[in-house]
Structures are given as C-alpha cells and as structure tokens.
Symmetry: C2
Subunit: 580 residues, 2 copies
C-alpha cells in the first residue's frame, strides 16, 4: 500500500496528458478543473456561428456522447482516488468554445475531398481557474477548417478523466488534470490511413462504421477500402450488376451503392475520406463468375504457378473490350468514393498467367509486344479514366519498380513489399504512401492459412508488435528533397485470416487508428506526430502509458482492443519495462 | 459456374460428417433425412425415464436451442442448394430417443467429480428411412452415464444442416445428410482441458460461461481456472476476505464464492469439471497487498533477478505460519471447485528471491537446509491439505524435475516447458497432463509485452497455428507401459496480452474447445480422438474442412472465432491446399 502511494506521486508528473497521437506541442500546469453538470460545446458568437452550428452539430453531438459515456478513471493503482479532494474543490469548466479562423468556410464534403492539401491544425487551451469577474471558465478550440475542429474535439475528449460520485449519486465527476493546458497541433503527414480487405472475408457495414469511429479517435483520415479481390467481388457496379450478383459470396454479402454511400457519409462527418481500391489486372478471378471472357488463366493449376493465392485468374491484357470494361468499372467505382485518390491496385501481376493463356499469348504475338508493354497500355488506360473522374491514381509498388511502367508523375505509389524500396520509388519522382508489410501488416504472425501445411509458416510472419510499427521511420534513406514525396502511411488488415469476429482485436493493437487492438493506433501516431525512434524523437517507453490510456478509452467506446499488458502494468508505467 | 457444380459432387463424398472432434467410429450412407417440425428429444420409456428426464431437462433444452438457432448451411459454393430436392422429399425424423444403459444412475455432480474414471462413451444412430409400419423415424442415442449422453447430444447437433424455406415461410429445413449413420464414440484420454488465466487481466463471469459452452461443443471436460497470480488475487477466500479485497484489481473484479459456484454449476450441466489453481509458492506477490508478512522479496529490483515477470514476490518457505496460512487458503479454495483434481501450481520458483530475503535466509541457515528442502516441506504440506479435502494434487513440471521434490506418486504433473520433458516425468511414475507451450499456448506469437522493448521478441513466439497444435503426439517417446500415465492435455490462455475483449478470437483458433478461434478446438480433437500425425492416424488436410464446419457453427452460437481461411476456401475443401 505504501508502495502504491509512492508511485502515484510520480505518475502525476509523468502522465501529464495521455493523448494519442501525441500533439506536436503541449504545455501543461499542475491544477485541476472540473466539468460542470451543464458543460456544453458551443460555437463562438459571430457571423460564422450559424454556419458552424449547422455543420458541426453532429460532431458536437458525438463529442457530448463521448463525454457522457467515457468513464475512464486514471490508470493508476488507486484509479484516481487521490485526485478526489482536488477535483471536488476545483474550479468549474462550463463550456468549450469553438471558433473557425477562416474567412472561407467550405463544406465538410469539400474538405474531405481535398484532405491531403487541407490544414488539419488546431489550437486548444484549457484554463486553470476562473477569473475574478466570472464564476466559471471556458476552454477554447480554434482551427482554420472544419476538419481541424474535428481533430481538436477528439483531443479534448481524451483529456477527460472520470471519478464515480462519492455518494452514489446518479453521475460522477469529470475532470481535466494538469491545467492550464495549451495544445498546438498539426499532422506531420497528410495521408494517414487504414486499409481493410473485405473480399477474402466479408464485413458488415456496421463493423466498418465502428472502425471509422476508431480511426477518427486517432486522427487517421483515410479509409482505404480494398473492396474486391480474386475470391469475391462484393461491390455493386451499377453498369454491371452481375459482377456482385455472381461474384459476391452471397446476396447478403454485397456492398450496394447505398451501403458505400453510407460509409462515405459517415466518414465525411468524421473528416475521413474513403479511398476505394478495385485491384486490377491481378486479383480479379471473381470477375469470371459473371464475365469469364475477360479473365485469363482462370483457376489454372497448380494455382501457385499462376497466382499468389488461389484461385488464379487475371484481367486479359491486349484485349480492347476488356480494357473498356475495366475502365467502365473504375468509372462507376470512382463516383462512389470520396477521396481525391483512387487505387487501381496492380500488385502481384503474374506473367505466366498471360503466357499460358491462348488468347493473351496470341495478342502478344500478333502485336509483337511483351507482357509489360501490354500491362503499361492497360494501366495507362485505367488511369486516363480515373483522371477524367477527377481522381489521382494510386498503385502498388510493383507497377513502377518490377514492371517499370511509364506512369504519370502524379501517380501515388504504395510501398508494401519492403520499405527499402521507397527510395527507388522516390527516385522516379512518385509520391509515396507507406504500407510496409514488415511494419504495418496487421494480419501477419498467424502462420500459413493454406491447407495441408502442418507447421506451415507464412512469408509475413512474425506478428508485427505495436512497438515494431511504432519504430517505423517515414523519411529513412530519402534525400532532403524527397521528403515532400512522402504523403504518409497506413496500417493494413488483409482478411485471409481475419473477419468481423476479430476486426477489433486484430487491427487495434497499435496503429493509431485501427481495429484488433492498438497496433493500428501505433501507425496513426507515427504519421501524425512524425519523428523517428532512432533519432530519439519517438520513444516506445514514453508511448506505452499513453497507448494504454487510448486503449482503455477505446474499450469503453465499444472497441474490443486487445490488452497490451497485464492490468497491473497498465496502472504502473515503467514497472513492467524490460531491464537491459 | 460449371466449375462449382463439379466441385459439389466431390464434396458430398468427402464431407460425410463434419464432426469435431472426429468420432472414433463412424459409418454413413448416402440418403437424407429431414427433421420434422415437431422434432423432439425424449427419454425412452422405462423405469429410468423419469430420473433421466429430470436430470437431462437442461441438456435437452440446450440441445433444442442449438437445433433452433444453428442455421448452418453446407459449406459448399451453393451452400447446400443442390441438396434441396432430396431434402424436400426426404423421410421425416421425428425424435431422438435417449437411453441410459446403466443400472446405476448417478448424479451429474457425482459424475463430474469422477470424470477422469468415468465412461464418457456413447452410441448414436440415425436411420435412413421410415419403416413400413410407421410414418416417421427415430434416432437413438445411448450411453452408460449422463455425461456420455451429453457428449452424444453435442454430436447430434453437429450433424444438422439448414436450408432456408424456399417460399420465405417462417422457418427453414433442417436435415442430416449421409444417413443411415452410426457412431460409436469414446475419448482417447480422460482429461481434456482449457486453462484460462484470470489474474493478469480479469474476465467477467459471463465470458467464462460462454467459454464453457464452447468447451462443451468440442467435448473438453475440464476448465482449469488459473484464478490468481502475482499481479492480482481475484478469488474470495472466506477465511481471508482481505486477500481479494486488497489483492483484486478492484471491488468489481472479484470472483466471489457465489460466482465460482455459478461457474461450477454451469460446468456440471455441461459435464465439465472446474479445476482451480492457486499457484504457490511463486506467483503470489498479490497476497502481499493484504498479508505482506508471508511474502519474500516483494517488489525486489531488478524484477528479472527475482521473478519471471513483474512484480517479484513469493510465499516464504520455512515459516510455519505462512505454511498454515497457505494450507488454509487451499482448504477454502478446494471446497469451491468440482474437479477431483486441484492445482497448487509450483512453476517458476525463484531461488534468489529466498536467498536474498533476510527472514527466509535466516531459516535456511538455522535449519541447515537448502531452498529445495524447504520447498519440499512446503509443497508436501499443501498436498496433505488437498488430500484431506479429497483432491488429487496437480503441479507444474518444475517441482518434480528441476527441484526433484519427493511428491506422492498420485501427484499429477502438467508439462509446459517442453514436451520432451514428459518422458522424465513418466520415468518418475507420475501421471501427466500435456500443456506444452510450443503446441498449446494460445497467447504466444504476439511478441514481447514488456515496456521499452522495441522489436522485442518473446520466448514463446511464434504463434501456435491450429495445425501445429493438431500435430501433437500425446504418446511420443513413452514406453508402452507409460501410455496409461497420460491423462490427456489442455490448451492454455495466459492473459498478459489477452482479456475478455479477445478471449473468443485468441482461444478458439484450433483447440477443440477454446476461445480466439478454433485453436483450442484442435487440442480438443487431439485428446478426444487420439492418434498421431506422423503415424497417419491424424491428417491436417482431412481435419480442416471439419474444423471450418465447427468454426462456422461456433460463430452462429455467438463465439467470435477467427476465420481460418478466406470464405472462398472454406466452401471448397482442398482448393486452397499448399502444393508440395
């Protein structure tokens, strides 16, 4: 007991603010302030107030729900009981004022479309005490965009701790420690994403919406929706409804245009853009359920000769009506998504599939072309359509590295095979989204999923721990001039061994945004806060207590995030550290 | 589409019965039978019927709920649609008759106490067609014990597939394929367990009860409840209520005697014994919150010198009142548990902790004893109490191997460090429970959980895949005479990185009983069905489709078991196999 008391003292100092991601600038005091019973979030009076109120009504309602339902007690052995005397006697915080410091108030829709050039910064201040002339005090949040305000509101909710009422009254005390407090915050990188594969196994819309909530809680701004793949095609394409009718796992496992619109709108309210990916020309065997004429080497055996995983099948190259079909699919899909980016995929294209396909090999011969030349023509055709649809094309790294396609400089490249390849992509002048499998693949570490493979290991073993994700350096090995090519990064959940049953626990291990556990949350901090572990700007030891706070709060919000340590350790920062 | 049709034909042959664990003997036909709308489970008329009805009322109600709520369609590309014509025209199965072929009808309570010497066998037959004199047919389940009937009822529910009604009527069709069907089944090993650590992180009672349901669905018969540890002491000990009051994480994270009784009773209804473990003398730092006088080297630093994980602290040896206290704790705990076995733990006892503890080192000197001699005296004292309480003592392997204690031959030994140690334990004549960390530790593979340990690996990496668990050979390296010493085995979930949020998804990967996924289910089959992979009696390829069936059914019953493969593969056995 003595031992616990000693510990609390030090915690008050070290755990000033358990924010995730860490703000770029934070100053704190040592006083307490308590939220009044009628605490409210209000827009400042002024000419923008009405517009603000309308636009921010949902965000304010969401913030109020969090303030109401989050009942996170301090993660200390006494769960904050020693705060009680100070909290009970603390001055009252009666409101949070919001102000938008911009003469141009755009719509949230516009802001989400322009997210990667948008100012997401915000300032937040919480005073220490009431001034003499007023019985209560106000906190202030200001930003230059609506999205900036959303980011700041999330930070504000993470400041609040809870103590149950001593007399068993209906409700407890909500308070902020370490006031006065001032935060100046802005992201290090504009693109901070979470990718979910909904084709290997299917996820209900409600699981996706809950995931967006968790993303927002870590300031991740892009839902990269890998919506189709070789095993199933669950996306409704209005021009070709048979694609989903015959390509989805079943009639109740289709994302209709209404469903996608629901996700897009939900994202908009949270300042999250939805970037769809319709992977082409590989990973498309499921298209053959409705349109077999477009697919080469369908279900060819042995599958491992023709595809990275079963079943084999790729869109035919050098066949004009297949290109026209593929362009039309992308045109329809582009209309459904809100991000300015759209991914046409392009990973794991198998050459042998085309060489052994009679139709494609005839085209190769008659045109005296190589597979890569036909691939170049195909991808440039797809991108023409995307540009016409006002989308910036995004591709997986192989298209520019392995196949050396002549894609427009504007094309954004996702590097997944090895982050060592980032430099080569930058040398070609492309902008980069980090998606390194050895840091950010949330599904790795469960061994092989292929059948008849006792003791089988997987190429992507081992499990990527949160501290591994957290140690990623986004600017490693790039020249100073290349730094601006890094748009950000994402955590990725491929679904061969994941599904709605395990979404929360697998994704939310540490990336700052995602679902099995805080892993996705770790990635979120890397790309919001920036800095590197090796240069001492980021420390796993400093991060862990904050991550515990984030995780306990996420669990209260209904996210089944995995525990990172025994509860005993979560209450005692540093005491479960390794001794080197 | 053509391709799918071809596949279905072969599935009808290969997936005769998707039972998990696989019965010891199974014969099937090729007809269908459909469950009537008023299908019922009834005890056969006779002198035992009344007794049976009373005892089995709950089991029958549970079976009826499963029959009602399980809506598992065949795992084929057409989800069983091609069965429809045969199902619609199939004869009607109107009831399942139960009979108990024993002149001695015991109570379920007695049977659970005597589980490891009990006859759990059963016979189940489902006819192909009605006979000429009766419009409907009956299935028959018989056993020599109530527990045997419970095992058979679970098997029966796993035979049923569902097809939605073609005309959107209120309910669908339930049917059994491959009748006539006859099963003769009995376990290969009497002890089939699942261990849950509720001390590192705490689990609500409802999560434990749901876990018991899942255990029952794979015929696992023992809930090994590792209920206390160094981080917290959540068990109410009536004689020493302060142990939980000060040792639990909080007042709402205590298992009261009423809570434990609820788990015991729920287990009894399912034929599951609850084996409590109060680990001693190591893993007891949490006792110091109430009784610091009994704990040596409490929170000594660096912790890694004194304990396997923080915080350090062990029950003092050579101190009479500490032994008396410990015996009294076990005496109280023994009364709460239903298994004939009780574990006093004994793993990871740290010698340095005692040598550096002034009080213990004084005792060592004054008695001219070694630590192992005092340990021997302590453990034998504990076991004396357990035997007086009608419990067979169970210990971790170190006590007989590393410390070479002179424990009674009756003492059961759990081998966890390495299954290679099983032989040495058998050579000492002890009975064995397999708990091999490299096969059955469900929590491994998530990397280190200690803080400030970037990229840290864990001793128990990598993740144990279901096929790894499934490849375990319980009799490996033992002499023919030693085979009878193997009581069985268990899957284990330690909770440093697990909690109620992830229980289902972590445990139920493949052991036939447990929660993140079917991993616990894999262990269940190993110890029910027996056989070895190397000798060809067990095959990962044969098992996978059955495990998919089990997993899809478990999800329908509310268990969030992780997907083992893309849904596409689950519907197409063999097509996602590795090509060697």
């Amino acid at each position: 007991m003595l031992f616990s008391a000693l510990l609390i003292l030090s915690l008050h100092v070290t755990r000033a603010a358990a924010l995730w991601p860490r703000p770029r600038s934070l100053s704190t005091g040592s006083s307490f302030i308590r939220l009044g019973d009628s605490f409210e979030v209000v827009a400042e009076q002024g000419e923008l107030a009405k517009e603000l109120e309308r636009r921010l009504a949902k965000a304010i309602a969401r913030t109020s729900r969090h303030l109401q339902h989050d009942r996170l007690r301090r993660l200390t052995p006494d769960r904050g009981e020693s705060d009680r005397p100070q909290v009970e006697n603390a001055p009252i915080l009666s409101r949070l004022f919001l102000s938008l410091n911009s003469t141009v108030v755009g719509t949230l829709e516009d802001e989400v479309v322009n997210l990667y050039t948008l100012d997401e910064s915000y300032s937040l201040s919480v005073p220490a005490a009431t001034d003499a002339t007023s019985p209560t005090a106000s906190a202030h949040l200001s930003a230059r965009t609506l999205v900036g305000l959303l980011r700041g509101l999330e930070t504000f909710t993470q400041l609040i701790y809870f103590l149950p009422a001593a007399d068993d009254a209906l409700d407890g005390l909500r308070y902020i420690a370490n006031v006065p407090l001032r935060i100046e915050d802005r992201p290090a990188f504009p693109y901070r994403g979470f990718m979910l594969d909904t084709a290997r196994n299917w996820y209900p819309i409600e699981d996706i919406l809950r995931t967006l909530d968790t993303m927002a809680s870590t300031k991740v701004n892009t839902f990269h929706w890998h919506i189709t793949d070789q095993q199933s095609f669950p996306l409704e394409i209005p021009t070709f409804p048979d694609l989903a009718t015959f390509g989805a796992y079943s009639a109740d496992r289709i994302y209709s245009t209404v469903d996608v619109a629901k996700v897009v709108e939900y994202g908009q309210d949270l300042g999250i853009a939805v970037m769809l990916e319709v992977d082409m020309p590989g990973h498309t065997a499921s298209i053959a359920n409705a349109y077999p004429e477009h697919i080469a080497c369908l279900d060819a055996r042995p599958w491992s000769t023709y595809a990275a995983e079963p079943p084999a099948g790729q869109l035919r190259l050098g066949r004009p009506d297949t290109l026209a079909f593929s362009k039309r699919v992308l045109q329809d899909a582009a209309k459904l998504s809100s991000s300015a980016f759209f991914s046409s995929g392009g990973d794991e294209v198998n050459k042998r599939c085309y060489l052994d396909d009679p139709e494609t090999s005839a085209a190769l011969e008659s045109r005296n072309s190589t597979v890569d030349e036909l691939l170049d023509e195909f991808v440039r055709g797809l991108h023409e359509t995307l540009v016409e649809s006002n989308k910036t094309p995004v591709v997986w790294e192989e298209l520019v590295l392995k196949h050396d396609l002549s894609l427009a400089k504007e094309t954004v490249v996702m590097v997944w095979i090895d982050s060592a390849n980032v430099r080569a992509v930058a040398d070609k002048g492309h902008r980069i989204i980090h998606a390194a499998s050895h840091y950010f693949y949330l599904d790795c570490g469960a061994g092989a999923w292929l059948g008849r493979y006792a003791n089988g290991t997987s190429w992507c073993d081992p499990f990527k721990t949160w501290s591994k994700s957290y140690s990623f350096d986004p600017l490693f090995n790039l020249t100073r001039e290349q730094h601006e090519l890094v748009l950000g990064g994402e955590a990725l959940l491929w679904s061969e061994q994941a599904g709605p049953e395990t979404l929360d626990s697998i994704a939310w291990r540490v990336w700052l945004v995602l679902p099995r556990s805080p892993r996705a949350a770790a990635a979120a901090e890397v790309f919001w806060t920036g800095g590197s572990v090796t240069e001492g700007e980021r420390s796993v030891g400093e991060a862990l207590p904050r991550l515990h706070d984030w995780r306990y709060r996420a669990v209260q919000r209904g996210v089944k995030a995995i525990p990172l340590q025994p509860h005993w350790c979560a209450l005692r920062p540093g005491q479960c550290d390794v001794e080197l």
